[in-house]
C-alpha cells in the first residue's frame, strides 16, 4: 500500500519514528474514518503520535485532557455568563430582544470538542487519558464520535464542518467500555526495540551521535529487563540522553560514574534506585557493547 509508506516517511520527517504497524493504523484511520485508540505503558509516546500526526497533516492539534469529573461544560461548550450578565444590565428594558441576543454565537465559549468539529481544515483531536474520565463522559463521547454533531438547546444542532482525526489514549487505569473499543481502531504502543529507540534519540536530541544513541538504547533495554516498579519509558530515555549529552559524555564506558549518577532520569522510585545499585549499573554497562 502506497499511503502507508508515505505516512511512515512523513512521520519520520516530523520527528516521530513509527513502526510499520502504526503507519498502517494511521492509513486505516483515514480510510475507514475511525478514531484510533492507543494503549500502552506510561511514557511510550502515545501523546506524541497525535502531535506528529498534526504536523504530518499540517493542521492544528486540539487536545482534551481527561480527568475525573470532566463534564460537558469543560469539554464541549459553555455560555459566557459574565458577558451575558453584562449584556442584560446594559440592555435593561428591552426584555424581548435580549434573550435572542445573549444566546447567540457571540456569547458561546467553545471548548475542545466543539472547536474540533467547527474547523474548516480537519484538525487532530487528541483525547488524552480517556480512562481517567467517568463512564458517563465516555458514553457521551461515543455519541459525538459517531454522529459528529452537537446539540445546544439554546442554539440548535451544530453539525461538523469537517471530521477531525481523532486519537484517544489510555493508560489502563480503568477498563474502557466495549462499545468505545469496538468503535475505534486499536493499537498497542510497546516499548521500541533498540534500533528504533536509538533512532528516536538521534531524531530528538541534538548532538547525540549514532554510537552514543545506540549505547543508550541498549542500556535502557537492559534496565527494562530488571525487575523494576516503574519501567522507564521513551520519555525517560530522552531525558537521560539529553542529560548525558549535556554533560558532554561521548561514550558511556568512559564515564561510568556519570552514567550511574544520571540514572535518576530513568529510575523514579526509591525502591528502583536501591535495586539498580552501583554494582548493578556497572554490570549492565559491561553488557552494553
Amino acid at each position: 500500500m502506497k499511503d502507508r509508506d508515505e505516512i511512515a516517511q512523513a512521520l519520520a520527517a516530523s520527528g516521530y519514528i513509527a513502526d510499520s504497524e502504526l503507519a498502517t493504523a494511521i492509513a486505516l484511520m483515514q480510510r475507514l474514518r475511525r478514531p484510533l485508540l492507543l494503549e500502552g505503558e506510561a511514557g511510550v509516546g502515545k501523546t506524541e503520535v497525535a502531535k506528529a500526526l498534526a504536523s504530518v497533516h499540517a493542521t492544528e492539534l486540539i487536545r482534551l485532557q481527561c480527568y475525573e469529573g470532566l463534564d460537558q461544560s469543560s469539554a464541549l461548550y459553555e455560555w459566557n455568563y459574565q458577558r451575558q450578565l453584562l449584556a442584560i444590565e446594559a440592555h435593561r428594558g428591552h426584555a424581548d430582544t435580549i434573550e435572542d441576543q445573549i444566546f447567540s454565537e457571540k456569547y458561546l465559549l467553545e471548548r475542545p470538542l466543539l472547536s474540533a468539529i467547527r474547523r474548516g481544515k480537519p484538525p487532530v483531536l487528541l483525547i488524552d487519558e480517556i480512562d481517567r474520565a467517568d463512564d458517563e463522559f465516555e458514553a457521551f463521547l461515543l455519541e459525538l464520535l459517531s454522529d459528529f454533531q452537537v446539540s445546544i438547546p439554546e442554539l440548535g444542532t451544530i453539525k461538523a464542518v469537517s471530521i477531525p482525526h481523532v486519537v484517544l489514549t489510555s493508560n489502563g487505569t480503568r477498563e474502557l467500555s466495549d462499545a468505545l473499543r469496538r468503535r475505534c481502531l486499536y493499537h498497542y504502543v510497546d516499548y521500541p526495540d533498540v534500533e528504533r529507540e536509538a533512532r528516536i534519540i538521534m531524531a530528538r536530541i541534538n548532538g547525540a551521535s549514532a554510537s552514543l544513541s545506540l549505547q543508550i538504547a541498549r542500556m535502557v533495554e537492559c534496565i527494562r529487563k530488571e525487575e523494576l516498579r516503574k519501567v522507564p519509558g521513551v520519555a525517560e530515555t530522552l531525558d537521560w540522553a539529553a542529560a548525558l549529552v549535556g554533560l558532554d559524555v561521548r561514550d558511556l564506558h568512559e564515564a561510568p560514574e556519570t552514567v550511574h549518577e544520571t540514572l535518576m532520569c530513568l529510575l523514579k522510585t526509591q525502591e528502583d534506585k536501591v535495586r539498580i545499585s552501583r554494582e548493578v549499573s556497572e554490570r549492565i554497562l559491561g553488557k552494553v557493547a
Binding site: 504497524e21 498502517t24 504530518v56 455560555w79 455568563y81 486499536y186
Partner: protein
C-alpha cells in the same frame, strides 16, 4: 498526504469473490469464538479493505485487521497467531480457546471436585506434596495427578459438573441474594452519611440569567458517590477443589449484583475472569470458566499470582474504595516470602483485604501453612468461609467500609 478518506464502498464487495467473503465470515466467527467483540460494521470495513488492495500481502492484511478487530491488549497479543493459523495455515502455539467444552467427565481432578462438593466431605485438603504415589491412576488413561502437585495440570475442568444441578442452583441463588443485600445496604448507608452539599455558583448564575442575574433558584452540588468495588481473587487449586464450585457461584452472583466488581482466578497462574463471569446464565458462565481455569488442580502459587495481579491489573481495578477479597487456604507451593512482599504491596493500594479461608472453621486448624503465616500481618479481616452462613456474616463488615 493523500487523504483518501473514502467511506467504505459496498459496491466494492462485488470485487471480492464469493469465496473470499465466505472465508472472511469464517474468520470473523473464529475471532468471535476467541473473545473478540466484533460487530457488523467491522465486518463491512474488513471487506472493503480486502477489496481495496490490502489483501495483496498477508503481512499488510494482518496488520490492518489487527488494528480493526483488536480492542484490548490481550486481543492484540493473540491476534497474529490466530491470523496465521486461519489464513496461512500455521499452527497456533499459544493455547487459544478451542470451541466448545471438552468432555471432562472422566477427569480425575474433576472427580475430586464432585466428591468434595458433598457437604461435610472428609477429603483431606490436598497438600503440596508433589508425590505421585497417592495419585490414583486416571480412568481415562490421561495420567493426571490427583490433588495438588507442582506440575501444571492442564486439564480443562468442566465446572458445570461440579455437583448436581439442583445444589448448584441453590448455592448460586443464595450467593446472589447475599450479594444483592450487600450492595443495597452499601448504597443506602453511603447516601445517608455524606451530606457534602455545596453551592454550584456557576450553574446558579446560568440558571438565573432569565431573572436578570438575581439568584432565585439555587443549584447545588453533590459529591459523586463511588460505589464500593469488590475484587475477588479465588484460589482454584487442587487443595481448594471442594469449595471452588460454591465460590464460583458466589462470584457470579457478586458480579451480577455489584455494579463494580472484578474477579480473578488463580492456581499456578492468574486469570482475569470477569468477562466470562458476566454471562447472565450461570451454567454458561461456568462453562466459559472451565476454559479459563486450565490448570486447576495443580499447585498453588499465590505469591506469583499476586505479583501478576499487582503488576498488571491492580492499577486498573483498584481505586480508593476497593476491597480485595482473597479466597484461599493459604497453602503456597511457591515462595512464601514473595507472598508476604506482594501482600504488603497490595495492602498499600486498597482499602481492606479480606482473606477467606474455608479451612479455618475446621476443628484444630491453626494458620500453620507458610503462606498464610506470611500473609497474615497484612490482612484486615481473616474469616472462615466454609458455609453460606459464614459468608453472610461478612456482610455487616463490608457494609461498614
Amino acid at each position: 498526504m493523500s487523504c483518501c478518506g473514502a467511506t467504505p464502498d459496498f459496491e466494492g464487495m462485488d470485487e471480492v469473490s464469493r469465496l473470499v467473503s465466505g472465508k472472511l465470515a469464517a474468520f470473523l466467527r473464529t475471532l468471535r469464538d476467541n473473545g473478540f467483540a466484533i460487530g457488523l460494521a467491522e465486518g463491512q470495513d474488513a471487506a472493503s479493505l480486502m477489496a481495496s488492495g490490502y489483501a495483496a500481502k498477508p503481512g499488510l492484511l494482518r496488520s490492518a485487521f489487527k488494528h480493526l478487530f483488536s480492542a484490548r491488549r490481550s486481543d492484540w497479543q493473540k491476534f497474529d497467531g490466530l491470523f496465521d493459523a486461519f489464513w496461512l495455515g500455521k499452527r497456533v502455539r499459544s493455547r487459544s480457546l478451542a470451541m466448545g467444552s471438552t468432555k471432562a467427565a472422566n477427569n480425575p481432578s474433576l472427580k475430586s471436585m464432585q466428591d468434595g462438593a458433598q457437604p461435610g466431605g472428609s477429603q483431606s485438603a490436598g497438600d503440596q506434596v508433589p508425590s505421585s504415589e497417592d495419585a490414583p491412576s486416571s480412568r481415562g488413561g490421561e495420567g493426571r495427578m490427583e490433588g495438588a502437585s507442582r506440575a501444571e495440570n492442564l486439564a480443562e475442568v468442566d465446572f458445570r459438573k461440579l455437583a448436581d444441578p439442583a445444589r448448584i442452583a441453590q448455592a448460586h441463588e443464595a450467593a446472589a441474594q447475599l450479594a444483592r443485600i450487600m450492595r443495597t445496604r452499601l448504597t443506602r448507608r453511603d447516601l445517608a452519611r455524606r451530606r457534602g452539599y455545596r453551592l454550584d455558583l456557576r450553574r446558579t448564575i446560568h440558571r438565573n440569567i432569565s431573572h436578570g442575574g438575581v439568584p432565585i433558584s439555587l443549584v447545588k452540588r453533590q459529591r459523586k458517590e463511588k460505589p464500593l468495588r469488590l475484587i475477588v481473587l479465588l484460589d482454584a487449586s487442587g487443595s481448594m477443589s471442594m469449595y471452588t464450585s460454591v465460590f464460583l457461584s458466589f462470584i457470579h452472583g457478586v458480579l451480577d449484583e455489584f455494579r463494580e466488581a472484578e474477579a480473578f482466578l488463580f492456581h499456578t497462574r492468574l486469570a482475569h475472569v470477569s468477562g466470562a463471569m458476566k454471562e447472565k446464565d450461570a451454567a454458561r458462565a461456568l462453562d466459559r470458566l472451565s476454559l479459563l481455569a486450565q490448570g486447576a488442580g495443580g499447585g498453588t502459587k499465590i505469591g506469583e499470582s499476586l505479583q501478576t495481579f499487582n503488576r498488571w491489573h491492580a492499577a486498573r481495578v483498584i481505586h480508593s474504595r476497593s476491597v480485595v477479597m482473597i479466597v484461599s487456604d493459604g497453602y503456597e507451593t511457591g515462595d512464601a516470602a514473595l507472598l508476604g512482599r506482594e501482600m504488603a504491596a497490595l495492602a498499600k493500594r486498597c482499602r481492606r483485604i479480606v482473606w477467606l479461608n474455608p479451612m479455618m472453621a475446621w476443628e484444630g486448624y491453626a494458620p500453620e501453612a507458610k503462606g498464610i503465616k506470611a500473609a497474615l500481618p497484612h490482612i484486615d479481616l481473616y474469616a472462615p468461609a466454609n458455609t453460606l452462613k459464614s459468608l453472610t456474616a461478612l456482610e455487616p463488615y463490608l457494609a461498614r467500609l
